[in-house]
Symmetry: C2
Subunit: 296 residues, 2 copies
């Protein structure tokens, strides 16, 4: 295994590559960078993107933190580094996208454990099955060189993870989610290391494709629905998301962690879309275990 | 102790009294009532209020539910009834108000436990110390006939409970919070029963006083700040609030539980109010252990 310092340097380069791409894709985007340090050890490079034509608000964050492990980790010390991004588009016809790749290390009485986690998933305000199919095809193409069951395993993990239990709906059309990848005979840790970068490097072409609808016109009703769906996104992140909880419990930098929250969201009472509407069709797609590779 | 059916009837009358008052105070308010039943037992009367001149969105809910107890209760069966309200005003100079009074009963192997819980608290978007002082004076006047330390005990409990740890700020200027009041020699259960209704009955005059600023003009900046503070309110309710968690874990009616969420909220990155601004003054008031009875 290479050193964690080398990997952290590559994660910073990934952050550079993605923010560079986004600023080129959406030249009116305003980038704000905050460098921060954590009292207990380590720090990060928060990059907030706002007020673009395509992206209303989002962030692409890098962090590498270490120190005494919080209680829930059952370890003495920990080290964590990763890149995490969430982008909320202006146009309701463009999906919210989320990606995270991370490396974790804990030690307990001298025994060291290492693992990788992360994933990529999209949350359309309006589901277009052909876009979801295309997205899942790209993810499968990233996974297949690393093992024949990776895509189906991590796709199912995403379905289970990005589920809003109290609403009985998925957050979006899913994607990949994986955690605690500690290496196996057929998928050793070095290959997992390569895999998370293969995924990270596919972000730019995937997002470029998914934002091609950003010029489509939309109505006030579409916008209201978008804000309501963003409310669901906030519910998921605040109630269930492990990354958010991890950040809150490790006394992470709160403004970097909560950059995932939407610029504007709304909650209306008991919204029930009209029969046959695009909103109703979208709700019908927000289910687990859809085979997106053949969806239409 | 009187029967739980009698108390539930009084709680419904309290709900009637409050919704009647609100519709008179704010005649343009639209009231929507939903009667619902819970599969496992019991049900409720959800009343959503929206689009008033004073109240932008809120709800005054009654429920009385029972059935097999969820795991976290460590009991066989439970019964819970209460009135819960949250009102989000249109004008940023009017505070958000929350009140809840509830009765709980559990049984385990034939052993029955009963207790009361609840409270009332306000979350101003802009803190006016004289309003906070007046509010706490009213609460003290409700508490004092029931015991000399009630106000200070439950005021402290509210400070500790309505605290957004990850922001290191209180939700608002507090008020009263109490739970697991099972009766003592000096404050027997029958008196606790009277106390929660004494509190509930003070809601109308308190809210009438607190909304007297609703005619004050405000700027776009005031409105933006209001939406940012509502974001904090959503964070508290989704991350920490026990009532919300209780509802989610007892498979309560989700639209009734989440009526507390704001009509519109926003999250901006790292908002830091200008030195000497009203926003900065407000943040300085959002601390525990302020003696509001003498604040100015």
């Amino acid at each position: 295994m290479r050193s964690k310092e080398n990997r952290a340097a590559d994660l910073m380069m990934l952050q550079d590559s993605i923010t560079g791409f986004l600023c080129k894709l959406d030249p009116s985007l305003k980038l704000k960078e905050d460098l921060w340090q954590r009292e207990e050890g380590g720090g990060g490079r928060t990059r907030i993107l706002a007020d673009g034509d395509i992206v209303e608000k989002g962030g692409v964050n890098f962090s590498a933190v270490h120190g005494p492990a919080p209680a829930f980790m059952k370890a003495d010390r920990f080290f964590a580094s990763g890149v995490s991004l969430v982008l909320h588009p202006r146009n309701p016809m463009v999906p919210i996208i989320h990606m995270n790749v991370r490396y974790l290390e804990t030690s307990l009485d001298g025994k060291v454990e290492h693992w990788f986690g992360g994933g990529m998933d999209v949350t359309p305000h309006y589901v277009f099955p052909e876009d979801a199919r295309w997205f899942h095809q790209q993810l499968k193409a990233v996974c297949d060189p690393f093992g024949p069951t990776l895509y189906s395993d991590y796709k199912k993990w995403a379905d289970d993870y990005f589920f809003i239990t109290h609403r009985n709906e998925t957050r979006g059309v899913g994607g990949l989610f994986f955690d605690f990848l500690k290496g196996t005979d057929t998928f050793p840790l070095e290959r997992v290391d390569d895999f998370i970068f293969a995924l990270g490097n596919q972000f730019n072409p995937i997002y470029e494709h998914l934002t091609r609808n950003h010029g489509i016109s939309f109505t006030e009703q579409n916008k209201t629905w978008q804000l309501q769906r963003r409310g669901r996104y906030a519910e998921f992140n605040l109630v269930y998301d492990r990354g958010t909880k991890f950040g809150l419990e490790t006394a992470g930098r709160i403004e970097s962690i909560l950059m995932s929250l939407p610029p504007l969201a709304r909650w209306d009472y008991n919204v029930i879309p009209a029969q046959g509407s695009a909103e109703e069709t979208t709700l019908n797609w927000l289910k687990k275990d859809i085979d997106w590779l053949s969806a239409k």
